[in-house]
């Protein structure tokens, strides 16, 4: 991020290519040296100068776990020594080969760094995740070993909230089914059936964090009363708090999962919750697949015990239970919650910005650990 700002400012031809990326840092360093000399403070001989640190970034080995974004790959390749784990079929061999040199890992919602991977990389200093969810990273191990962890909060909040509402409308108003109806020429044979009104329906949100709040704000504009369940009641909201998830599910029309995936929230939407939501209820999942007991969900939908579902995430992506394919009251998406050009670029910039900050000894932009 810092280098990028510098690059865009450095258009003068006489600035050499060495300093082009760092020219805004160099004058700062010069001022610091002058300041310390004036007051007779010793210069910090042992700490690397930012200039030297930046030049060395090209040698820093960064391991990318899986393909996630070509812009991110290109930028990582430009600035660091990028190693692509998925390009090597013998993953264990590859890790062993480079274990002493990998200082950073870039993961995403699909794959991060578990305890085994962390143990295999003794020089690992930082994991920068191309996601806001951290369930694929062993955070406890990272804390133990002093490994920094960053994610991509805020830049994707609106996008994910937009998709949650898009799924609610698609399921209530059968938009995908209607589209299919017209494309198959069935409108010529008769009108489509009645759908369910969305405005005014009670929306229950599991997890009132950034994304949960953004969903609430949007749903409110449709006149939807909002209630929520989370570990504790949030101050400063007018939304109805439900201490029990069963209570929330029993008293809402549309239940949306918007919390983080932790051991406590694994399968938080189980058979009991699904039954409480009921045959007219709709479940929306823009969190993580393992938030929901997927086999129970499939059974409930197939048996008509749940009114409908809009799902962007699944327990074993990209595998999706085939029994859902023929259900018209279900909308399935391939984990596209943050999937717009603008948002993915902002996420990539944050991943790179965090890595740059770390290797230049600057404060991390969005640290978690």
């Amino acid at each position: 991020m810092l280098a990028r700002v510098a690059r865009s400012a450095a258009s003068e031809p006489f600035i050499s290519c060495l300093t082009r990326t760092h020219h805004h840092i160099f004058p700062v360093l010069t001022n610091q040296i002058q300041f310390s000399r004036h007051f007779n403070f010793p210069t910090r001989k042992n700490s690397p100068s930012p200039f030297a640190a930046a030049a060395k970034m090209e040698d820093v080995r960064v391991l990318m776990i899986c393909p996630m974004n070509s812009y991110l790959e290109q930028e990582l390749d430009k600035q660091f020594k990028l190693l692509k784990l998925w390009a090597h079929p013998q993953k264990q061999e590859f890790l062993k080969q480079h274990s002493e040199s990998i200082r950073a890992v870039v993961g995403n919602a699909t794959a991060g760094a578990d305890a085994e991977m962390i143990e295999a990389l003794p020089k690992l200093e930082i994991i920068s995740s191309f996601s806001v969810g951290l369930d694929k990273i062993d955070l406890i191990k990272c804390k133990e070993k002093g490994i920094r962890v960053t994610n991509t909060p805020d830049v994707l909040t609106e996008e994910v909230a937009d998709l949650a509402i898009g799924l609610m409308l698609a399921v209530c108003r059968r938009i995908c089914e209607c589209d299919k109806y017209v494309r198959k020429g069935m409108w010529k044979l008769g009108d489509f059936k009645l759908t369910t009104k969305f405005s005014g329906k009670t929306v229950g949100i599991i997890g009132l964090g950034r994304i949960g709040l953004a969903i609430a704000k949007r749903a409110e504009a449709f006149g939807c009363p909002i209630s929520y369940h989370s570990r504790s009641e949030k101050p400063n909201t007018n939304y109805k708090y439900r201490a029990s998830l069963i209570d929330l599910a029993s008293n809402c029309d549309i239940l949306v999962v918007a919390c983080a995936l932790t051991p406590e929230t694994h399968h938080i939407v189980n058979r009991e919750v699904i039954d409480a939501l009921g045959p007219k209820g709709i479940l929306i999942n823009i969190g993580r697949g393992p938030h929901v007991d997927e086999p129970e969900l499939v059974l409930a939908l197939v048996e008509g015990r749940l009114g409908g579902a809009g799902l962007d995430v699944f327990e074993k992506e990209p595998e999706v239970p085939q029994q859902l394919f023929d259900l018209n009251n279900v909308v399935l998406l391939p984990h596209v919650g943050s999937g717009t050009i603008e948002t993915r670029k902002a996420m990539a910039d944050l991943v790179i910005g965090n890595l740059e900050a770390h290797f230049m000894n600057k404060p991390l932009l969005t640290p978690v650990v």
Binding site: P67, M68, N69, E158, E159, D162, L163, I165, G166, L167, L169, A170, R173, I175, C176, C178, D179, K180, Y181, V182, R183, W187, K188, D191, F192, L194, T195, T196, K197, F198, S199, G200, K217, R218, E220, A221, F222, G223, E317, P318, E319, V320, Q322, L324, F325, D326, V331, L332, L333, P334, V336, G339, T340, I341, E342, T343, R344
Partner: protein, 328 residues
């Protein structure tokens, strides 16, 4: 028909039902408990002959939004004093003839505004985030075989131009503001009670907008209001949603622009020649199609029964109409 009727039914006020509208088919029993019903579609006679034979003394008509209540039909209803249409739109009714004959007209007023606005937002999200296209991909079992799904477009921060800021347009604006959209509008006149920027020129609105949402009534002035010039001004990254009436957009030009990538995508609920939809659209992934059913939710259908029967009852009791469009 008259021979089958009980004396009680014969006492009820008579209405002729034209269409028939969905609300009548759904709540027929309820309508029959309040009115004596003439059902032209059950007769083998052509409409004009049926009207001549049975409807010369009928004072009120319940009409579907699809039924063309033309001068010719009106001339066959010499005693008609009220038309209640189940739709919000009145473009299917010869209003000048009604005015001339002092026939009152009542419509669905703002009953469907929330549902229609919901669908406008739903279609916009669906086309910008490719919800239907991605749903198709997953349900065809293609997710494991595809890499990253192609990116959609962000809705937040986009400039939305609303064409027609009536009841529906205002509801659309209110919803999209919550997504962080920036609202402007084009209308016959500037509305003094809103702060959204007003554009007297539709071309100017299209040029500055990322999204156009068509919410206006169909009139002589708005027919083909959205023509090729407006679509080109909207541009390659622009999206259009139409939940108003098909003929407001030049459909042939719209299809060409979509095929040639001159606009980014469209969400369409209405068409020039319903239920016919240009087949060229069926193979496009950047189009979402809906069979003019925005108002047909279970909740609104009951509300529709209440307002139409309420208007008819008010008329027969000499009380003010609930939702008059034209009142003598």
């Amino acid at each position: 028909m008259a021979e089958d009727e009980t004396p009680e039914v014969q006492q009820l006020p008579e209405i002729i039902v034209l269409g028939p509208p969905v609300v009548f088919e759904t709540y027929e029993k309820e309508f029959c408990s309040k009115f004596r019903i003439l059902r032209p579609w059950e007769s083998t006679l052509p409409l004009s002959e049926f009207l001549l034979a049975h409807a010369q003394n009928t004072n009120a008509a319940l009409c579907s939004g699809y039924f063309l209540l033309s001068t010719a039909v009106l001339r066959h209803l010499p005693s008609l004093r009220l038309v209640v249409t189940t739709s919000a739109g009145v473009d299917h009714i010869d209003l000048s003839e009604c005015r001339r004959r002092q026939i009152s007209v009542a419509n669905a007023s703002t009953l469907f505004s929330a549902d229609v606005a919901d669908l406008a937002v739903g279609l916009l999200l669906n086309v910008m985030r490719q919800i239907s296209a991605a749903n198709r991909l997953v349900k065809n079992g293609l997710w494991p075989k595809t890499g990253d799904y192609p990116f959609g477009s962000k809705l937040g921060g986009k400039k939305v131009g609303i064409v027609g800021l009536g009841s529906i347009g205002l509801e659309v604006a209110k919803r999209l503001e919550a997504f962080g959209c920036i609202i402007s509008y084009h209308s016959r006149e500037k509305k003094s009670f809103v702060l959204y920027p007003f554009y007297r020129d539709i071309l100017e609105l299209a040029a500055i907008s990322d999204v156009l949402v068509i919410c206006c009534a169909l009139t002589k002035q708005t027919r083909h209001l959205i023509d090729r010039e407006v679509l080109l001004a909207l541009g390659k990254k622009g999206f259009i949603v139409n939940i108003a009436r098909g003929p407001i957009i030049d459909e042939n030009e719209l299809v060409l622009c979509l095929q040639q990538g001159l606009i980014a995508g469209a969400g369409l609920e209405v068409f020039e020649n319903e239920p016919h939809v240009p087949e060229a659209l069926f193979s496009l992934n950047n189009v979402v199609l809906s069979p003019h059913s925005a108002a047909f939710t279970m909740e609104s259908l009951w509300d529709s029964y209440e307002i139409t029967s309420g208007n008819l009852e008010a008329f027969f009791s000499n009380k003010p109409l609930l939702s008059p469009v034209l009142d003598k």
